[in-house]
Amino acid sequence: MGDLHTLGVAQLSALLQNKDISAVELATRMLARLGGNPHNAFLSVDSEVTLAQAKEADARLAAGDTSPLLGVPIAHKDIFVTTDFPTTAGSRMLEGYRSPFNATVVQRLGDAGMVSLGKLSCDEFAMGSANENVAVPAAKPLPVTNPWDESRIPGGSSGGSAAAVAGHLTPAATGTDTGGSIRQPAAFCGITGIKPTYGRASRYGMVAFASSLDQAGPMARSAEDCALLLSAMCGPDLDRDSTSLDVKEEDFSRDLNQPLAGLRVGVPNEFFSDGLAADVRAAIDAALKTLQDQGATLVSIALPRTALSIPVYYIIAPAEASSNLSRFDGVKFGHRAKEFTDLADMYEKTRTEGFGEEVKRRIMIGSYVLSHGYYDAYYLQAQKIRRMIADDFQRAFASCDVIAGPVAPTVAWKLGDKSDDPLASYLADIFTLPASLAGLPGMSIPVGLGEGGMPVGMQLIGNYLQEARLLNVAHQFQMATDHHLKAPGGAA
């Protein structure tokens, strides 16, 4: 078993259940790969904590517990609060912060017996598409690099999660997706990730960015693994998250083996416009052809307000962020400036020191669009177009079962390429924003390699609560292809 780190969740689960390996042995092997922090993916590791969790898993295994995730390692995006590890949200504001409670998602995966390897880097407060906006450790913050090419970005904001899974540092990771932060890094790093319907996974203990958009989901090597993880992550959390959906837990693996015959796949014309790079288009076209070969029918659909989703999202998300981030004032937790003259000065210095540039920019946009005289023209108008975008999807789903298209217009770009030009980075989010605004489930699956040998991801979007359908399509595709099995050179 020299290549344990290359195995996925379902495979490791089988080995653990067969007692071919113990959870402690597995955790020890995985921890050994984290030395030197490959790809700068991790922000905190604590082998004592990890091994204690593994020991507990072994005790449950010995007692005959057959929970499918028992003893399998995972790592959490550092946007989920945890009692066992520090939580920074990638921000100096929270450096050294230790939460008194666990996020519901972390708690659920822990209760399922998963063993946490640590916390993964992300853009500060999940604001970014390249994982270059990480501000911790304050002494020397390092951008996460893409395991396929260390000179490129891994995507963001769940860039640490994507790099860790692609680099075989962990078989599974949690991520969060506000405007594409699971799907885009999954695409850029050649892994599988799913953002469920808004409200499926509890937001309790997820450091808030934009409350009407934030949603947690799993990132792993296959749709089969994501289905196992998603089933454990989701479920009502009615007393702790007022937006948690009151729908019962589901076994998202149940439909994985359904054949695709008769499936209607909607292809939005707007996702194949001039802005789409030729290499990405070629890989997506080939993937759509595979789905056809498996019995699916392609249906041309229209999502006419796709381009509008950029200004709509970049008004709504900063508006919500400016409100959510007002809690960081240096009083109850987090950073406080050392020197100040009075309370107002303490707030201002604390926030000026604690927040990075992109976070400040978004707070400023939010303050502007919510301010007197601009609220109707910007914020309210954005909310109205948001509904039109959601309605466009419902019209599209009248003629198709799932929607397929690119996740991003290009493969992962070079580190630094867009870091001085936030607008260029916003524009690259065009294909993930519409489903986020509507609150629909969406996922990314690897469909081949493009320019520079970099992975291309195909996005699948489903109607509300249709995660099992998405995972079914993704799994059938992965049964017929081997793109998801390809790994970057350094990972083996």
Partner: protein
């Protein structure tokens, strides 16, 4: 319509942030570039459209049929009962506070 340096000053004050001159100039340029793409929103006719504050009120009834048959009016945001559900965890909650004394959060003197 463009923002001015005065607007930046006012918004910084509202946001409890401070920007030095070079940062303010950079921000002004960045925000004006951003609001140039926002202009396309103005041309959209949204008369009669109800603002969507939340995805939950956009979910059609059919979506709930098989998952939550009791939700006959679709899903609405919930309020929980107004009862105490959390135990007192003051010490745990204050562990990460910058300054506390006798169970209180310390701030600079506000009243002379």
């Amino acid at each position: 319509m463009s923002l001015t340096s005065d607007d930046i000053q006012r918004l910084a004050q509202l946001s409890r942030l401070h920007f030095d001159d070079p940062a303010r100039a950079r921000l002004l340029e960045g925000l004006n570039n951003f609001f140039a793409i926002v202009e396309q929103m103005r041309e959209v006719d949204t008369s009669g459209v109800v603002p969507m504050a939340h995805p939950i009120d956009a979910m059609p009834l059919e979506a709930w049929a098989q998952h939550a048959p009791s939700a006959t009016d679709g899903m609405a945001l919930r309020l929980r009962d107004d009862v105490v559900s959390e135990p007192n965890q003051r010490e745990a909650n204050q562990r990460s506070a910058p300054a506390v004394e006798r169970g209180l959060f310390l701030v600079p003197k506000v009243i002379e």
